[in-house]
């Protein structure tokens, strides 16, 4: 009978089905409390591989197909007792490529290496090989490495930032590697911008090995300073195509408007699609959205548009008191209403030529309190309050028109934890966007519902899912009650691992569990 119960009830306990998606849970396991999951690395033969940072080491967690923890393997980052710096890891077919660097102080060269690990047993299957190097003068200015994979993982771009020289030009280099780690092309670049006045924000490498990067050119070091007349910075998108032979600089300019956030992607026709938010007040608020498409063959702008959010959308979910206060401020300063402190998190390119932008309100408040003890001893304490609030979704069509925009109410506040369990993870399945985040029962339920609940139920925390359809309409539902599972979801290190599956990492002190949401084929 016990066996019968085990076989038939166990799957029910770890597997719940809600309409068009299924949530399946792995068993709980414990890990060193000082270690932190950093993200999903890859999957192979039903196993999933998770990157974990420990205190001074890096390791890989292996999960079976039911998301149960199998093993943890520490990465060997030593060579002849010399310690290398971990730089990254990614999957290529049935192996993992580990990137590591060694800053040779005698030679004054920072070297980047790779070695391959088998996904079968996580053993090293290749010896260390050098990929790139950065010569430097001083150890604290020895440059840095970064990498980026193309969408189909066929190309890997290694970026190396050449040492910073005050007043000199911005200098860096690329090395594009194929799956066999052979160099497709490489180029050292010196931009016509002073390095203190240019900061690189994002890279994209296409499946063909072309490289695009976005950066901000400032007219003065204080880019974030209040606007005086026109914006004192300009966004650039630089493209390096045909193995770096064809170089193009697209300056993204919206006349007298502040671009507060910009993201871009390369579509299937290899056109550049770029969008983001702009402001008329400054860099901390947004008034509307812009969208630009550029034909990468002839570098011509196909579409350029910007649209202002209407007042109803800006003040949606605001209290009446806040609206009155904002309008008074607007009248006093002669400025328009804007959305405050939104970060552009996702730039979703749709096959029909449009894009959807997802942004979240995020800000930090620093509170310093001074208290006196009975002996008149003064003590000061500073606390950091992390706020991750409403999410806005804006769909822009091919012509640059806002098709729809929606604002999802969310309130997340935590203290001195960097918003460990806050923020959201997005999962794009066909035409729907699913947003998963934590929410207190008190925020989820209406007052009437809360009045019928017990105190314990009111103190629950849910992981909720808000699904936005292709028309911008959304529904919100409880994915699961985290208190029931004894762990809490960490959206920041959760991610969509294939077209239909979202892998979620859950933790509470040393207890950890993975679960996945399967949205079906």
């Amino acid at each position: 009978m016990k066996l019968f119960l085990t076989f038939f009830l166990a799957p029910l306990l770890t597997f719940s089905q809600h309409g068009q998606f299924k949530v399946s849970w792995g068993d709980e396991f414990k890990s060193n409390k000082r270690s932190q999951v950093a993200g999903f690395v890859g999957s192979h033969s039903g196993k999933s591989y998770i990157l974990r940072y420990g205190r001074g080491d890096v390791s890989i967690d292996v999960l079976d197909k039911n998301l149960n923890f199998i093993s943890n393997k520490k990465l060997n980052l030593d060579y002849n007792k010399k310690n290398m710096q971990f730089e990254g890891i990614y999957q290529v077919d049935d192996s993992l490529v580990v990137l590591s660097s060694f800053s040779n102080l005698a030679q004054k060269v920072n070297y980047l290496f790779y070695h391959k690990m088998s996904l079968e047993n996580l053993d090293n299957v290749s010896s260390l090989s050098k990929i790139a190097e950065i010569p430097f003068e001083r150890k604290n200015k020895d440059g840095y490495f970064a990498y980026k994979l193309s969408d189909d993982s066929s190309k890997c771009m290694i970026y190396y930032a050449l040492p910073f020289i005050s007043g000199g030009p911005e200098k860096f280099g690329f090395r594009i590697l194929d799956k066999s780690m052979a160099t497709v092309w490489h180029k050292d670049i010196s931009l016509p911008f002073e390095n203190e006045l240019f900061s690189i924000e994002k890279f994209v490498v296409s499946n063909d090995g072309d490289v695009y990067l976005s950066g901000v050119e400032s007219k003065s070091i204080k880019r974030k300073s209040k606007r005086l007349g026109a914006a004192n910075y300009k966004y650039h998108i630089l493209s390096y195509i045909n193995k770096g032979e064809k170089i193009k600089d697209y300056a993204i300019d919206l006349d007298d408007k502040f671009i507060t956030d910009l993201q871009f992607a390369i579509d299937e026709q290899q056109n550049l699609r770029c969008g983001g938010f702009y402001s008329e007040n400054g860099t901390f608020s947004i008034k509307g959205t812009f969208y630009i498409t550029i034909d990468s063959k002839n570098s011509e702008i196909i579409t350029k548009s910007f649209r202002e959010f209407d007042e109803g959308f800006i003040t949606l979910n605001w209290k009446e008191r806040d609206i009155t206060k904002a309008k008074k401020k607007q009248a006093r300063k002669g400025t328009g209403l804007e959305l405050y402190e939104y970060d552009l998190k996702n730039f979703i390119v749709s096959p029909n030529g449009g894009v959807t932008l997802l942004a979240e309100q995020y800000y930090v408040q620093t509170v310093t309190t001074t208290s006196y003890s009975s002996r008149d001893m003064m003590s000061t304490r500073t606390t950091y309050h992390y706020y991750y609030n409403d999410i806005i979704a804006v769909s822009i069509n091919q012509a640059g028109q806002i098709e729809w925009n929606t604002k999802i109410k969310k309130q997340q506040h935590s203290v001195d934890d960097n918003g460990y369990f806050s923020s959201f993870v997005a999962c794009i399945v066909r035409d729907n966007i699913h947003l998963i985040y934590n929410e207190d029962a008190r925020d989820f339920h209406s007052k009437d519902e809360l009045s019928t609940m017990t105190r314990k139920e009111r103190n629950n925390t849910y992981t909720v899912m808000t699904s936005i359809n292709e028309n911008g309409a959304f529904t919100k539902s409880i994915l699961y009650n985290t208190d029931k599972y004894g762990v809490r979801t960490r959206p920041k290190v959760s991610e969509q691992i294939n077209e239909n599956t979202l892998l979620l990492y859950n933790k509470w002190y040393r207890n950890q569990r993975f679960n996945q949401v399967d949205f079906g084929g």
Partner: protein, 206 residues
């Protein structure tokens, strides 16, 4: 002449070949004169010498997070006794004596990409000093000071083998006075006082 030229040319080719093969080997990239896995540092105390404490230390790196430093110094100053005796002391008859230093250092491995012994650290610092005193008409044989301090500092590479070490420590000194002849209050006496120390050292990596 032909023979000499042939030999010289062959040697040059061998040299080029060797340097090329060195660069092809992965060992070449890690050849840093053992800077990255330095375990032993010999140090001279610069700030101590300015204050009349001439000494040297040796630091041994146990792992990437912990190092142990020990050393001796020749102390030529007087101990600053706060409540030592209830009568005035004449200047010490003998001021110079050996001091013993011992530190356990905890390096912040999460800071930057440096590891011990070149990083920010906190340390537990113990120092033992003793000075012979003579009172007016009395004899105060020996005053010893056991000093326990908490230190924080930074050690960094100045060159291939040279390094700098700067730290600040603060703690309590416990004085023990073993015998005061002729005094009505015969010992042993124990007193304590707050003290601080600034350390600036120059180090040589072995």
């Amino acid at each position: 002449m032909k023979v000499i030229l042939t030999i010289a040319f062959s040697l040059i080719l061998c040299g080029i070949g060797r340097s090329q093969s060195d660069k092809d080997s992965i060992d070449y990239y890690f050849d840093d004169n053992n800077i990255s896995n330095a375990r032993v540092l010999i140090k001279l105390d610069i700030a101590g010498a300015l204050a009349g404490d001439y000494g040297a230390r040796i630091e041994y790196k146990l792992n990437n997070a912990i190092g142990i430093e020990a050393g001796l110094s020749y102390w030529t100053g007087a101990l600053l006794l706060k409540n030592a005796v209830d009568y005035p002391l004449t200047p010490p008859s003998k001021q110079a004596s050996l001091s013993y230093h011992f530190q356990t250092r905890f390096y912040y491995t999460f800071f930057g990409d440096f590891k011990a012994p070149f990083n920010i650290y906190s340390a537990l610092y113990y120092r033992y000093r003793s000075v012979d005193y003579v009172g007016s008409g009395l004899s105060l044989d020996k005053v010893s000071s056991h000093e326990a301090m908490l230190a924080t500092g930074y050690q960094w590479l100045l060159g291939k083998r040279l390094a700098g070490d700067i730290n600040f420590s603060a703690g309590i000194a416990f004085f023990d006075k073993d015998y005061i002849s002729g005094s009505q209050n015969n010992g042993p006496f124990i007193s304590s006082q707050f003290l601080y120390n600034i350390g600036i050292k120059i180090a040589y990596r072995l």
